[in-house]
Each structure stands twice: as C-alpha cells, then as structure tokens.
C-alpha cells in the first residue's frame, strides 16, 4: 500500500469511529483533522468534501460488515445453516456495537426525514444490499426444504430485522442486561415458527451427502 493510500485508510478508520460515536452528521473535517493531528486541507486532499467523506464512511462500514458477517457465512451449507450463521454473526456485531454504535441504525434515524442526498442514498443502498442477502438466504432455505413452503420471506425478514433493532435499543439505550438473551430467544422462536420438521430442532438438516460436514456446520452454528 502506498503512503497516500495508507493515510487515506487511517483517516477513514478514524472517521468511521467518530461517525459510529457521534453519527454521520456529527462527522466534520475539523474534528477529524484534530483526531488525525493533520491540517484540514490535509484531510480535504484525500476526500474532496465532507459529503464525499460521509459516503466513503458508509461504504467502508459496509465493506467491513460484509467481511465480518456476510462472506464467512457463505461457507455454511446453503439454506437454514447459512441463514442461521448470518443471523449469529450479525448478532455478534450488534453486541460489539452496544459500546461503539452502529451507523446503519443511527443513520436510519439521522436521515429518515432528510431530503434525498448522496449520504442517505448510500445508506439506503447498503442497508438494502444486506436485506437482499437475508431475503435470498430465506428463499434458499425454502428451496432446500428447511423452511415451510408457505413462509412469507418479507414477513420473516421484517421479524428478524426488527429484533436486531430491538437488541440495539434495549442494550444501548435502556441498558437492559437481558437484551442479548431475549434477542436470541426471539430469533430462535421466529426461525422455529417457519422451520419444517425435516430441518430438525437445531437446523441440522439431514442431507444425502456429505453428512459429516453438515453435522459439523450445525454444531459450529449452534455453539455461537
């Protein structure tokens, strides 16, 4: 990585931290320059404008989200094991974010009634991509026979997504110690309400082959 790229990455890292704490609208070039011990013009040299910087912060958050939550889940078997892995990793990230904040959730409130802007657009786009990935995993779980054929993917998505909003609210705002356990229970209750008997109580699906891998996958998923 060239020196310029390293500096840009370091600025972006600091910007993501500030935006998680103070919101995207709380992010200013001045604050960032102070944090980086750089001049404002030094920051501007890497990001043309405050709005460009905000958009890049959303993109960077999305990249990290995909690396931490989405891509590792693709290693799990298609269908319910993968959907469960996505939800488990997402919950882990939410639990971390109880202390650091989440720009998707704070951003959703910051930009909910604002006029169209590049930042809002990028935020809706990124959140939308994750929701599409979840929808796809739900549909694949139906195709694999892990979820009942009458499962409404949009309703299931609404339930799962709402519980992660609830976790953030109860843990971060209300400081409820039982928030994580309640979220796990609610997610499990919802998944089981859609699950077929063939998918088993723990999502360990009997598949023709390779059975050993499938069992291992299920155990890994369960132990999280």
């Amino acid at each position: 990585m060239r020196k310029g790229e390293q500096t840009r990455a370091a600025i972006l890292d600091a910007a993501l931290e500030l935006a998680s704490r103070d919101g995207l609208e709380g992010l200013t070039i001045g604050l960032l320059a102070e944090r980086m011990q750089m001049s404002k013009s030094g920051v501007f040299a890497h990001f043309g404008s405050r709005e460009d910087l905000q958009v890049e912060v959303v993109r960077e958050y999305h990249r990290r989200f995909e690396d931490e939550v989405f891509f590792p889940s693709l290693r799990e078997a298609r269908g319910l094991p993968r959907l469960r892995a996505m939800m488990n990793r997402w919950m882990e990230k939410r639990i971390q974010e109880v202390t650091t904040g989440c720009i998707y959730i704070s951003g959703a409130v910051e930009y909910d009634d604002r006029a169209a802007s590049a930042v809002r657009e990028q935020l809706v786009h990124s959140v939308g991509m994750w929701r599409e990935a979840l929808l796809r995993a739900i549909r694949q779980s139906k195709d694999e026979g892990h979820l009942k054929p009458e499962t409404d993917p949009h309703l299931m998505l609404f339930e799962l997504y709402s519980f992660t909003l609830g976790l953030h609210h109860d843990a971060r705002f209300l400081h409820l110690p039982e928030a994580v356990q309640l979220t796990r229970d609610a997610l499990e209750k919802t998944i089981q309400s859609y699950q077929t008997p063939a998918a088993g109580a723990n999502g360990s699906v009997t598949q023709p082959a390779p059975p050993a891998t499938t069992n291992l996958t299920s155990q890994q998923t369960d132990s999280r």
Copy 2:
C-alpha cells in the same frame, strides 16, 4: 388558562414539533424563539434552561402518548382485548409519526451513549412507564386465561416493541409501502403464538358476563 400558561403551552407545542423533526438535541432556544416570533429571553422566562425545556418536551410527549394510546385502551376489557387496543392505538400513532417523527425513537439513538443527564433520565423513565404498562397488560392477559401460562412476558414485550421499531425504520427510513401491513402481520402472528384456544382467533374471549359488551369490544378492536 391564564395568559402566561397559554404562552407556555404554545411554546411547548412548537418545541415538541421541532424536537420531533430535528431531535431533542436539535432543539435550541434560538430556533424556538424564531418560530414563536419571541425574544430568546421571552422563551427563557418560561423555561429556565435549554435542558429544562428538553425535559418538559419529553414529559409533554409522554402526556400526549398516554392520552392518545394508554388511557382510551383502559376502556377495553382487562386482558387480551386491552393489550390489543394498546397495540392498535400505538400502531396508529407510529403511522402518524412516519411523517412527524417520534422523540422516543430518535431520542433512544441520540442519548444511547451519552452520559447520564436529566433529559436522558426523563426519556428512559417515560419509555419505561409505557413498557411497564404493556408488561402489566401481558400479565393480566395471562391471569385472565387469554395467553398461555408459559408465556414469558419479557419475551413477548421484546417482540411487540421490536416490531414498532421495525415499522418506524421501514416506513420512515426505507419508505417501504408494505411496512404497515408487515407490522400488523408480525404483531398478529406473535399474539396468536401466545394465545390460548379459549381466547379465540380474534381475541374475542368467552366470558361469563357480560357477553354482549365483550363481543362489541372485540369487534371494535378488530375493525381498527
């Protein structure tokens, strides 16, 4: 109402509108004075400080919430009819707030990682009172035999509360046209998962007396 009280009520009304739109932290005496066409010292004469004003705005929102959502629901029969009425009225308020904003939801994000303050304390207290009222209605529904004895009131509260956060998120941030219907479906699915067979498909509970009133109540609840 005396002239001074009228002015105070008018300032509070404008403050609530501004805070719903811009958040409690977006509320300034200067902005409010401009909106009221008053001097800043005129506003200060009614509210000692910006923080006092913010606390009063939270209290005023809570009073209105109780008047619109909680108190009218107490007219319904104790148990599931009352719980359903509370949820229906709360949803109606959330639907209105898709355009105006909700200081409980924006406040939860604004104050989630802030140090203890009078505003945060009042916000947590007000949200907590509403959650206590919901918990009480859930417990009464169990006592009346409308909900299964194994119902975990805290889990049910988590589910119901999360769905109203999901409604706000999907309607106000993502602009999803199906958000209201999905929320209704998710709430209904949750209530039915806890409901006893005796409580009936629509929450119309067979009670010894007076049956006519009970039926009417259930119909009113259903038609909303």
